[in-house]
């Protein structure tokens, strides 16, 4: 059915497909770099929306899993490049090993942090997820062996099944495919029984518990899946920039991820991706225009929060049936 929502979704897909052509036409690779970044942040935003939008679980520490994913890739490559084994393992530069590893590390952290913070709700949950993310931030600042404050550079991008992915177009297609997979996966998840339980628990935890669903376990599973997706995004980000630093885990970044989701539109699958794009475009424009861009961006975020909590996708969706 071609309603406004589906039309807008189609436009987003076409925009992603058109990026390489646009880059050729404009004669600049910057478009591809920016669009790659949109795809990567889009993955994080989609994963965060699964928690915030559907589950009403406001995680203010999502940057932690993003950062852990990045560090997992960087550390594996660091040990390989410096020929120092870690726990008897020589490290790796192969994406097909490093990226699942990044997801596993992020998922494991999400399991532990989620198990603790999901014992609480509401404002406790916000503060605790924030605090644990900050803990990991300080941990990486203190780990001088892996660069501490200065971060850690990757000597090369990972190899993908043995192939180089240094070409910006190749890497762009990898990131866009990863984004598409994540969107499809979360679409499948959210329309399944699992997603229904999450949404039901967001509306009334007591009702779902009375129906016999172990709400805590469902939420924890969602938290871990979202953490793994963010970890994958972190791995991609580390590859794009060939650099990771504690900044990846900072609380500001967690806040920015939330801004992307809200700006795009909660519970809308494609909305958060649009939000990520809008965020990056605004950021790159404002930070180019003035050094004090936060003075403009801050009030903008405030206005979105107060006056447009449904986000861009809310405006697109209009009167379409939800």
């Amino acid at each position: 059915m071609l309603n406004r929502t589906n039309l807008a979704t189609l436009l987003v897909v076409l925009a992603f497909l058109a990026v390489p052509m646009a880059a050729t036409w404009l004669g600049t690779n910057y478009v591809i770099t920016l669009a790659t970044r949109v795809a990567i942040y889009g993955i994080v935003a989609v994963s965060l929306d699964m928690l915030v939008g559907r589950g009403n679980l406001v995680s203010f520490g999502h940057a932690a899993y993003f950062g852990l994913g990045g560090y997992a890739v960087a550390i594996a490559s660091f040990h390989l490049a410096n020929d120092v084994p870690i726990f008897g393992w020589s490290g790796t530069n192969e994406a097909l090993i490093a990226w699942p590893l990044a997801m596993a590390v992020a998922g494991l952290a999400a399991l532990v942090i989620g198990a603790l913070s999901l014992r609480t709700a509401g404002v406790y949950f916000i503060m605790i997820t924030l605090a644990f993310a900050q803990m990991l931030f300080f941990l990486f600042v203190a780990l001088k062996y892996y660069g501490g404050d200065d971060g850690l550079s990757l000597s090369t991008r990972n190899l993908f099944a043995g192939n180089r992915i240094t070409d910006s177009r190749t890497f762009y297609w990898i990131c866009v495919s990863a984004l598409a997979l994540c969107v499809l996966l979360s679409w499948r998840i959210l329309n399944s029984r699992f997603g229904m339980v999450l949404r039901g628990a967001a509306a009334s935890e007591r009702r779902m518990a009375a129906l016999g669903f172990p709400v805590y376990r469902y939420r924890l599973a969602a938290f871990v899946i979202a953490g793994m997706m963010a970890g994958l995004a972190g791995a991609l980000w580390a590859n794009q920039n060939r650099f990771v630093s504690p900044d990846m885990l900072s609380w500001v970044r967690s806040g920015e991820f939330l801004v992307m989701v809200i700006m795009g539109g909660l519970s809308s699958l494609v909305g958060p991706v649009v939000g990520a794009a809008a965020f990056l475009l605004i950021e790159s424009y404002l930070s180019g225009a003035t050094e004090h861009w936060q003075m403009i961006f801050g009030p903008f975020v405030l206005l979105v929060a107060v006056f447009a909590p449904r986000g861009l996708w809310g405006a697109v969706r209009g009167k379409d049936r939800q």
């Binding site: 404002v123 924030l130 605090a131 803990m135 300080f138 780990l143 939330l258 009030p299 975020v301």
Partner: protein
């Protein structure tokens, strides 16, 4: 032993600073149900206003009222213009809006005062040392800070349990609609409480000026530690804020002083150094995790 006592005093001093911030934050949350991320910005504004006044007038004794007034005024304006619109909204909107405020204030300070850190000079009357115990000399200024923290804690306790405003605050945090129905101007009360919280944050900000540098981002760092404090203490409870501040302040200070040392006696080499520093910096979060496992609603949970 002497080192231990000194660290203990340092820990107490950090605890009391944390308490000033936690008290305001927990009051605002307890009575209005608003989570205010920009509480740290008020701390920063107090510190910057103090540093500005100190640089202009050359005395700490004018920096202090300047910092207090700036924080309280900005706090009251913030409540009146923005936070008021957020009472009925979900936590997500509150988090986002106050996140926007943080970005704005950080940008504003960078634009108006520059990015280089400032320092407020210690007042000459308090520049010396006091011999607290035979052989243990401790900076007079830090002792004064602790005295102020204790005085504020006692004052708050008196205000909340013994005065009419305190009664309204207690009633408001319990049943807001009921207080309103009794004819109390709840909007005015909210502005007042918010400004009071801002004032305490500003006080903390000016007071740390002479011992730590005044810089952008100082607010967020302390804000997150403050979150840990009130999560440990129980959100909405002043008593919890005090207990949480003591626990976290002492664990942090003593942890940083002793964990690397202890670790070195077991392990050796650069690994011990790195691991010790890393462990010391995460110790308060581990304490928080432990409290959460045992008492998910904090040490002094507020009923209801």
């Amino acid at each position: 032993m002497q080192l231990f006592l000194e660290q203990l005093l340092n820990g107490l001093q950090l605890s009391l600073t944390l308490f000033l911030l936690a008290a305001g934050l927990t009051l605002v949350f307890g009575i209005m149900g608003v989570i205010n991320l920009a509480h740290g910005s008020l701390y920063m504004i107090g510190a910057y206003a103090g540093a500005y006044a100190a640089a202009k007038t050359g005395t700490f004794w004018l920096a202090l009222p300047a910092g207090l007034a700036a924080a309280a005024l900005v706090g009251a304006a913030m409540e009146f213009i923005i936070v008021r619109r957020l009472y009925a909204r979900d936590h997500l909107s509150q988090v986002l809006a106050t996140f926007g405020l943080i970005l704005f204030f950080n940008g504003f300070i960078a634009w108006s005062a520059g990015r280089s850190p400032l320092l407020i000079e210690t007042p000459p009357q308090l520049a010396g040392f006091v011999e607290v115990l035979p052989g243990l000399r401790y900076p007079a200024y830090r002792l004064a800070m602790m005295a102020v923290g204790v005085a504020v804690a006692l004052g708050l306790w008196w205000m909340i349990s013994r005065t009419r405003v305190g009664m309204l605050i207690r009633a408001g945090s319990d049943k807001r609609e009921m207080v309103e129905a009794l004819g109390v101007d709840i909007a005015k009360l909210f502005t007042l409480v918010f400004a009071l919280g801002a004032l305490l944050a500003g006080l903390a900000g000016v007071m740390v000026g002479p011992i730590r540098s005044v810089q952008i981002g100082m607010g967020e760092q302390v804000l997150i530690t403050t979150f840990v404090v009130i999560v440990v203490g129980g959100i909405g409870s002043i008593r919890g804020a005090f207990a949480g501040a003591l626990l976290i302040g002492l664990c942090d200070t003593l942890g940083r002083a002793y964990v690397p040392m202890l670790l070195k006696s077991w392990l050796s080499g650069p690994l011990a150094d790195g691991l010790g520093a890393a462990l010391a910096s995460v110790i308060i979060y581990l304490v928080m995790a432990l409290v959460l496992v045992i008492r998910p609603r904090g040490l002094f949970p507020v009923s209801g």
